[in-house]
Amino acid sequence: MKRLLITLFASVGLIFSLGAQKDFALYNLQGTPQAVYANPAFVPKTKIYVSIPGLSFTNLGVSNSAFSFNDLVTQRPDDSLEWNTTSLFSKLKDLNVFSLNMQNEIFGFGFKLHESYFNFSMMHQTKFDLLYPGDLFKLAFKGNAEFLGQRASMNGIGVNLSSYMTYNFGFARRLGDTFHVGGRLKIASGIANFRTKKTVLGLYTDPVTYALTVDGGMQVNSSNIAVFTDSTSNADPSILQKSAYNFANKGVGLDLGGTFQMNEKVVLSASALNLGTISWTQNTRSYEVKDFNFSFDGVDLNGYFVDSSGTDVSQMADDFIDTLTQLFNEEGVEESYVTGMGSRFYVGATYELTPSFNVGATVFSEVLNRQFVPGLTIAANARVKDWLFATVNYTMYNGSFANLGVGLSLRGGPIQFFIMSDNVLAFVNPYGAKSAHLCTGLAIAISEKSKKEKKKSKDVIE
């Protein structure tokens, strides 16, 4: 079991060492066709871009906001491992998130036409967030006696899962000599969603009497989830496939971006991504546990001491279960609901040290659990050859300061291959990383001829 846990954790670390999807490296790998996903105003160097289905843009990420494997486990002198709960508890915050993200481009293409760049893509996105409160671990490991006089808060505990397709229509254009603007309209077709809209859950232990008070409330929404969770459901599994294109769960989003050539050396850029919502209406089911407050201060002992009948403990248990059953609306209700696409914002600047080498900084922000989470990336970007781009960046994000990102884009003839990660340290030391990211793909990219190539061709003709 332990080995399984290790393997699982390591596998997750490696397989999904693939980007908690902040795309810091991608933002800095400007000039590649894929950078347009970070800023729709980024016009690639290539004239035509066509993705290779199944091998094109794949963006994977995993992150755990609270702790890494090394925070959880300590190696002892005899090389055996032990759980390090002290370290674990020091790392846990009130609410922590374990996230898995995946973007997969089904098909895409782009081409330049005069001063404009048109692009289209079909992107499948899957996001999974497990929200777990730190007090939940403390309760489990230390018991409620650690919370005497305090409320052990499990507020926010829940799961968010969202899978949808976006059909993206992008356009970028040069405005004058210094501006590039771009935008992308995203038409979404939701596949499945599970949202923990609200959870309030707390356990208060009276410091004197140890009386327990549980308070809480919960609201969750789901769409097309019964296929996974209810074996008795009549839902047709193929509905998930159809949902990828039938727009039963409609969504509209917008990506906006721009760049500004401030002078010969400095380029400013900014983008706002995923400005939009998806309306979930297909096979929806919403559940609600109304706000409740239940206290237990022990059984009534008067029955034992005074009444010959005594106290019927089993009856008390039945009453308690009945109370909980009444709190929880098992059947749920069918109602549509709206979720966001997960907006992100980038503001960056690059300074060109040489024509083939620049350094830059990017400020990032995203909406996570209804809060803006900032990040800062410092990058060095090199165009080593016409066929080779490279970027190395360092990122501070969400309290994590050990994120070294790397990206490479290689082109051989019309074939372009790229690979990047926002945190390559996760590959070096996967057990010490709290997040990992990998973005890779293979595409057909046909570049415009350089002036040198054009001159060479002309000489041959003459």
Partner: protein, 538 residues
Amino acid sequence: MRRLTATGTKITLVLALLTMVACKKFEDAHFAKTAWNPNLAIPIGHAKFGVYDVLAQIDSNDLIIIDPQTGEIALVYNSEIASFSSTSIVDFGTVSETIEVSLADLNIPASGSFNGSGNTFRTEPITVNMPNGVELDSVFFKAGTMNLHLESELRHDLDVTMTFTDMKKGGPPITRTFSKQFNGTVPQTEDIAVDLADVHADFTRGGITVNETQVDVVVKVTGTGEPINGDEKLSMTMSIADAEYHYVKGYFGQQTVGQSIDSVLLRVFQNAADGTFELRNPYVNFFIENSFGFPIQINLGNLKTINVNTGVENSLLNYPTTIDVNYPTQLGQVANTTFQLNSDNTDNLSSIISPTPKYFHYEVGATSNPANDKGIDNFIEDDSRFVLTAEVDMPLDGLAYGFSISDTLDFSFDQETDLIDNVTFRIIVDNGFPVRVGTQLMVLDENMNKLFDVFLNPEDIVEPAKVDVNGKVSQRVQKITDIPLSREQIDKLSKAKKVVVYGEASTTDFQNGTMVKFYDYYDIGIKLAMQVQGSSQF
């Protein structure tokens, strides 16, 4: 600058390549056991006890509110200490009278063949033999039978009429006639039974005597030609059997009508081993319910309290020894008498309660017509009752200390405890009584050997509530007592078969003589909880 940027480019490239390929392989490893010791705080139960739960658990009648305005309460223990019924005073005596009639009374001479007739009329007294000097004036019978018997050796026809002139059933006197036609055999006999139900009988013969009634007898003999020998006998016998009465009037004499030696159990001290209990104003009430229509005097004797544990007896001194009981003067009435022994008419009632006695002992006797005044008309009804109830009243106004009780309880514990490192029980007592309770618990094995004491020293788990100058509780007091059980003690619990509970109580500030009062709204809240430290590895 160009060189610098070229170098930077190379470094960037190398770093990118290096980091891409540098991936540490996670070595196979095994986990050591990790301790998991969650500490759980759990409420077990709660209870709230009022004065009735604490002081009158067995019988709520043990507690009464003696002042409805304030709710002041008293412990009350009573016992019916003497009673007697009507039959024990007047049991209808024996009645058997025979009336003989001679031939001379009938003016019939001896003859070889008698064809004439003869008759006679006589009034005869009937005496009732009553015991204990009881003098009957009248009786209203509820049941009974008067048996009349005729026996004659005369060989002639007979007509005998008996009229009980003072015995009437609603109207005329009771009359019965024997009519005998000689059938050739002697003696001639006949019996008549007279139902006495609802018969009123006067036993004064018109106010001239007692215990006597009378019968008029008319005898007529008609000859049948048979001889008259001259020595034939003719007699009438009457007797009364199974007599019960609605009421009896008369004078029932001076007799001891009841005696009793008994005691009142003072339940509050039932389990007390020791202690001092000083009450400001205890008293003993005697309640007498009397429907006997004659004077009765109660004689009190040997009043004392007894502590059967210590053998200590404390006699009550200088108390009134007699109680004159009220009596009804008309049929159907009930007369009640209340008599109280208190600190005003005794010397030491308060102090004999002090050593937590178990019983209040008494000896009583009851005498009818103590003045032997025959001028007082006595009566008894069939449902007349005399009930003497003694009630020891202890208004809870005083102080107590050293009031100790102990009990041995069966105990068994067969739960799995391997995953428990230690347990700490918590008792939270929110006390509204002006009483402190110290406790010790001793855990014993099946051979009554001590396994361990729960407390290192007896622990005050109940702190007394504070009182004002009137002895009334002015502030509740909460006491939290933690009882830690070590792993070793938990292991011993599996061998435990008995738990000895020892408690010692005292009232608030008794050392300074503070007297406290108890009211009906006092209560005590108890909450039980525990912390369990788990012991596990994963």
